[in-house]
């Protein structure tokens, strides 16, 4: 292995995805992490409906001082912000953006990374060398600097653009891991057997290699997802990324930071949501890593 991030060519066969899920279900902490994510995702999905209900039960008038900066209460469990908006409603609405950006960019990264990794590992030779050289190049790129420059220059880029760009810049580490796993898988007996039986390369790739690298890719994707949530939050803190009237957790924290001394809930609530999400994802990653037994994943 000549490269910096080395894979684990001798890893035991990785379990296929469905088995993985079943084993995950046997771990209470993993179930807890999954439930946290599920609750947040459900909240995000139902956000407009819940926000409307919240508004109907405890209406707020943005024009009135009596609606602004209210401390948490029964009517507004997480208080209201400086603009007289319910922080719970904002949290759910912001979650739509934050989680969607995280999900979409992770999917993009997982797709690109898996594709490049599998192709490089499976074909080997020149293609492999070329692709991995490229990946190493991009891995050394100061990603956050480029993202800051990009979004400072295009401050009005839509949220979809944000997700796309972040995703397109986050697959490099993942592709390395997938490639290493592919290298390990392709020498295995059943792959060799399939090939001996005259299966086409594409068939071998899709039916025998891909299912065996899926677990590893999943673990690596949890790392990407955790990072991406942080990146979106960081960009929002600099006033980049999501723009009003859209909001995201990072944007909410940014809006609330100057109230930390007077109305802490505005920043702390979305910050907890971010921390909870990242912690849940990263714990899932840990558990999956144990189950899949990937030896070396790119550190974060």
């Amino acid at each position: 292995m000549t490269t910096l991030v080395s894979g684990a060519p001798l890893a035991p066969p990785a379990p296929a995805a469905p088995t993985l899920l079943r084993r995950l279900g046997a771990r209470p902490s993993a179930v807890a992490a999954l439930s946290v994510l599920a609750v947040l995702a459900a909240g995000a999905l139902l956000a407009p409906w819940i926000a409307a209900r919240l508004h109907a039960t405890a209406p707020l008038d943005p024009m009135s001082a009596g609606s602004r900066l209210l401390a948490p209460s029964l009517a507004h469990p997480f208080g209201t912000d400086a603009q007289g908006r319910d922080v719970l409603a904002q949290l759910l609405l912001g979650g739509r953006v934050s989680l969607a950006v995280a999900a979409v960019s992770t999917l993009i990264a997982a797709f690109l990374g898996t594709a490049v990794g599998v192709v490089a590992g499976h074909l080997g030779g020149r293609t492999d060398a070329l692709l991995m050289r490229g990946v190493d190049t991009f891995l050394a790129m100061p990603r956050i600097l480029v993202l800051i420059a990009l979004f400072a220059l295009w401050p009005t880029a839509p949220v979809s653009g944000l997700a796309l760009v972040i995703g397109a810049m986050s697959w490099f580490g993942l592709s390395r891991v997938v490639r290493a796993q592919t290298l390990a898988v392709r020498v295995r007996d059943h792959v060799a057997a399939a090939r001996a039986l005259g299966a086409g390369e594409l068939h071998v790739l899709l039916r025998h290699v891909l299912p065996n690298v899926a677990g590893v890719a999943l673990v690596a994707a949890t790392l990407v997802a955790g990072e991406v949530v942080g990146i979106e939050a960081g960009l929002s803190f600099l006033g980049l990324g999501v723009r009003p009237p859209d909001t995201s957790w990072g944007k909410m924290v940014q809006d609330g930071v100057s109230f930390l001394a007077s109305a802490w809930w505005i920043a702390v609530v979305p910050a907890l949501a971010i921390a909870l999400t990242v912690a849940a994802i990263s714990h899932l990653g840990d558990v999956l890593r144990d189950l899949v037994d990937v030896r070396q994943l790119p550190p974060r």
Partner: protein
């Protein structure tokens, strides 16, 4: 040492690629460095066109790029439109400050992270292991800027233990000498602490995993069988063999810490590369922004090169390949 050479070539390719990307993206974006001048009712468009000509922004993009590359190869990164200072000068001021921040944070976070990792691996799945892992995961999960703001508010503003800004020591008789040194250390404490808290978890996690991986191996068992104390085995044999992933991590910690430094610098008013970059981007200071991205990538490349060389030192096996 063809491997080292290849890494250098690769590093140069990264820098060239990122710079090219930055150069064109920046110029394709809406607006230009003279936007604020256009808001001035007393400046005629002719005056501004004149300025554009002087900076060469009226030339075709390809011509501008060729000129930029030619000059950059001679160490001239152009002139900042905002301050009219040479970009190399501005970066020369800022880069050492960011490197100082990272130079202190990296050894500290690795020392803390490795110690924690060893302690965790010594008794895997113990209560200590579980609690510290949960704590570092939670810390890692915090957005870096929020951690910085909280530290600033609590330790600097509220408890008054540290300064909320940097560089003002001369007002308190701490401009030079021992007092100045102490002042600088106090200034560094919170920014460095933020970076350390953010990265220690990742280091510990890696250290623990690497140790657990080598512990069952033959040579460790042999050492124990030969009568070595388990603790000594852990520290001497296992740790040594688990060094390589640490070094690998070091190379990758560079871009991550540089990214973290961007936010830390904003919050603690630390005049480093992050401040320069964000400011340049906001004012569309073309040359300064391109220069920042270029130097940022070179920093990262050099960092991973160093880590790579260190890997050779730590693991002689690598030299063979």
């Amino acid at each position: 040492m063809s491997r080292a050479l290849r890494r250098v070539v690769q590093g140069a390719a990264v820098a060239a690629l990122v710079t090219t990307l930055a150069f064109f993206l920046i110029r394709l974006a809406p607006g230009d460095p003279f936007a604020t001048l256009r808001e001035n009712p007393n400046l005629s468009p002719a005056t501004i066109d004149d300025l554009r000509t002087r900076f060469g922004f009226d030339q075709p993009l390809v011509v501008q790029y060729a000129r930029y590359v030619r000059r950059a190869l001679h160490g001239d990164l152009g002139i900042s439109v905002g301050t009219r200072r040479p970009v190399t000068e501005a970066i020369g001021d800022a880069l050492p400050r960011t490197l100082l921040l990272m130079g202190v944070a990296i050894p500290l976070s690795f020392a803390a992270g490795m110690a924690l990792g060893v302690a965790q691996a010594a008794r895997p799945r113990s209560r200590f292991d579980r609690i510290t892992r949960a704590a570092t995961t939670l810390l890692y999960a915090q957005p870096s800027f929020l951690l910085a703001v909280v530290l600033l508010l609590v330790f600097a503003a509220w408890l008054g233990l540290f300064q909320t800004t940097s560089g003002l020591g001369f007002l308190y008789g701490a401009g030079s000498g021992w007092a100045g040194f102490v002042w600088r250390v106090r200034e560094l404490t919170l920014p460095v602490l933020t970076l350390v808290l953010l990265t220690t978890g990742a280091v510990a996690r890696q250290q623990r995993a690497a140790l657990l991986e080598v512990l069952p191996e033959e040579f460790v068992r042999t050492a124990v069988a030969k009568g070595a104390a388990p603790r000594a085995v852990l520290l001497r044999h296992a740790l040594r063999n688990a060094m390589l992933p640490m070094v690998t991590l070091l190379g990758l910690a560079f871009p991550a810490l540089l990214g973290g430094a961007v936010f830390v610098e904003q919050v603690f008013s630390w005049p480093g590369m992050g401040r320069l970059l964000v400011d340049a981007a906001a004012t569309r200071d073309y040359f300064l922004l391109t220069g920042c991205v270029l130097v940022g990538s070179v920093t990262v490349v050099v960092g991973s090169l160093l880590a790579d060389l260190l890997a050779l030192l730590v693991d002689p096996r690598q030299r063979a390949s």
